[in-house]
């Protein structure tokens, strides 16, 4: 654990600095006190005292029943408006970390808060846009770009309610933001891998999320598409002020745009400014713990 946090903690401070307020620095102090009760209190801070982090893991560990722990004692705080890359070798636990953060799994120890609420019991989940790996999406569905993006509006509007003018406007805006306005009526099957990726990003944007989480968005997409994906996310981050968590086993183009990189290998082994990442670690599959 100590390996994970101490040497690199400048990164956390940098993240806090980016969001501005001195209040946040104080909050980070509270979060850092770590253990049990303190962490819980930091996660569920009463309104007015400080702004809760978008994601906060405090001493979180996770193990599948009967197996060795996948993650041990993870402390991670992502502030509103950050653009964070979570990287690490396959099997290093980065997907598990994200599943914990989203409340899809519960930690075996420690606590996980999302928007200041326990992650598994967040009241308004429509604040989250989650884009899974390409292979897990319904890319072979006989759907048009607009149908895919409209599905992303369901969390915000509710399953049983009809879409209103403002919903249609949000759908069209999301399509335009990813540059697919010319292809709105095209079936997914007629788009390139990179364009399909953009359609699903637009789907996540249609719900106007405060937090956008992308799990391995670059897998199965060519280098040019990866480059333009990174630039697109940078633009979304700057114009929409959305908090973005980008999970990948490789850095690639994204490294130039993020303010913070978190390397995960059984725990957090680096957390900070990409510029301060040791050169030998730039290929995260070679990370030494």
């Amino acid at each position: 654990m100590s390996l994970a946090i101490e040497p690199a903690n400048g990164g956390v401070a940098a993240g806090v600095g980016a969001t501005g307020a001195g209040v946040s620095a104080e909050t980070a102090g509270v979060g850092a006190t770590g253990a049990g009760v303190g962490a819980e209190a930091a996660g569920i801070c009463p309104a007015g005292t400080s702004v809760p982090a978008v994601v906060e893991l405090s001493g979180a560990s996770f193990a599948y029943p009967g197996s060795a722990p996948v993650l041990r004692d993870v402390n991670l705080r992502v502030e509103r408006g950050e653009f964070v890359a979570i990287a690490g070798p396959n099997g290093g636990g980065k997907t598990t970390l994200v599943r914990l953060a989203l409340g899809l799994e519960r930690p075996s120890a420690g606590s996980v808060a999302l928007f200041g609420e326990p992650a598994a019991r967040v009241g308004r989940r429509d604040r989250i846009g989650y884009l899974r790996q390409r292979a897990q999406l319904g890319i072979d569905a006989p759907a048009t770009v607009r149908e895919v993006v409209a599905a992303g509006r369901v969390p915000r509007r509710g399953v049983l309610r009809l879409l209103r003018a403002e919903d249609h406007a949000a759908i069209e805006e999301a399509i335009a933001r990813v540059g697919l306005d010319g292809q709105a009526r095209s079936p997914l099957a007629r788009l390139s891998g990179g364009q399909q990726q953009r359609a699903f990003i637009a789907k996540a944007l249609a719900g106007q999320p405060e937090l956008l989480v992308l799990d391995e968005p670059t897998s199965g997409v060519d280098v040019d598409a990866q480059e333009s994906l990174a630039a697109l996310l940078d633009e979304l981050h700057r114009t929409l002020e959305v908090t973005i968590i980008f999970v990948s086993h490789e850095f690639g183009a994204i490294e130039r745009f993020v303010g913070r990189i978190v390397l995960v290998r059984g725990g957090i082994v680096f957390d900070g400014d990409p510029a301060k990442l040791p050169i030998s670690w730039h290929d995260p599959s070679h990370v030494h713990s």
């Binding site: 319904g138 969390p155 049983l160």
Partner: protein, 261 residues
């Protein structure tokens, strides 16, 4: 005959509409499993002296929801849950039917469909259930599409995926029960699946796939029933063969128009 066409029209529209979501979620065979549970329901109806359609309705909705709950709680893999319910259903059906002394020709009407044995009571029940099913699909359509495109993404963003999955399972159960008299328990799943895969050869969107599948389902039932009436064949087999031919025709149309929308 008119009764059979009226019931068939409802079945032809509802089965592919429900089937679309099964095909997209790679659950095409669930209709088959639920059909076997419906068989146990029919048998229970004979034994209790109640309308077999009603008992089949209860059994198939219960069976479909049970499969979904087993799958959702990851207590068993999807195919194992299906196998468990599938074989228990058909075994229970055979045992109950032999206990009722009803392993006879009447049974064939349930297994493969029948034109002549449908009643006014069947039409009312199928009509009400069919309209209710289409209304429910329309109501939860957007949610089902969201869960179909990315189930976990939808769950993370707060779409009530578990409730939608149970609704879909209940719809499968209802569809099986209402299709039973016309298509037969053994061929129900085909009418849910074949029109959808035929439609997806030539469709250009989710909406067009569902509408085309419903049209193909309706046409298959009408053509199949007509053939079965004049040639004195089991309607279930005739209807499903017409739907299979529709798939062949759609594939041909796609091959001839490779850049078709």
């Amino acid at each position: 005959m008119r009764l059979a066409f009226a019931i068939g029209a409802i079945v032809g529209l509802v089965a592919p509409a429900v089937g679309f979501f099964l095909v997209q979620r790679r659950m095409s065979l669930i209709g088959d499993g639920v059909g076997h549970v419906a068989f146990a329901g029919v048998a229970a109806g004979y034994l209790l002296g109640v309308s077999p359609v009603l008992t089949a309705l209860v059994a198939s909705v219960g069976g479909a929801v049970a499969i979904e709950l087993l799958r959702a709680r990851r207590q068993t893999a999807g195919d194992q849950a299906l196998a468990l319910v599938f074989y228990t259903g058909i075994a229970a059906g055979v045992v109950l039917l032999s206990a009722a002394g009803a392993l006879d020709a009447n049974l064939f009407a349930f297994l493969f469909g029948s034109i002549l044995t449908v009643t006014n009571g069947d039409l009312i029940l199928v009509g009400l259930l069919g309209i209710a099913s289409l209304a429910l699909i329309a109501l939860v359509y957007r949610g089902l599409v969201a869960a179909t495109l990315d189930e976990e993404g939808a769950r993370v963003s707060g779409v009530p995926v578990a409730a939608l999955n149970v609704s879909l399972a209940a719809l499968v159960g209802v569809t099986v029960a209402l299709s039973m008299r016309i298509v037969g328990i053994l061929l129900i799943a085909a009418l849910m699946v074949l029109p959808v895969i035929a439609a997806s050869r030539i469709s250009w969107s989710i909406r067009s796939t569902i509408v085309l599948a419903m049209a193909i389902g309706l046409a298959s039932v009408f053509v199949g029933l007509t053939i079965s009436y004049y040639a004195n064949l089991a309607p279930g087999g005739a209807i499903v063969l017409v739907a299979a031919a529709a798939f062949g025709a759609a594939s041909l149309a796609r091959a001839l128009r490779p850049v078709a929308r």
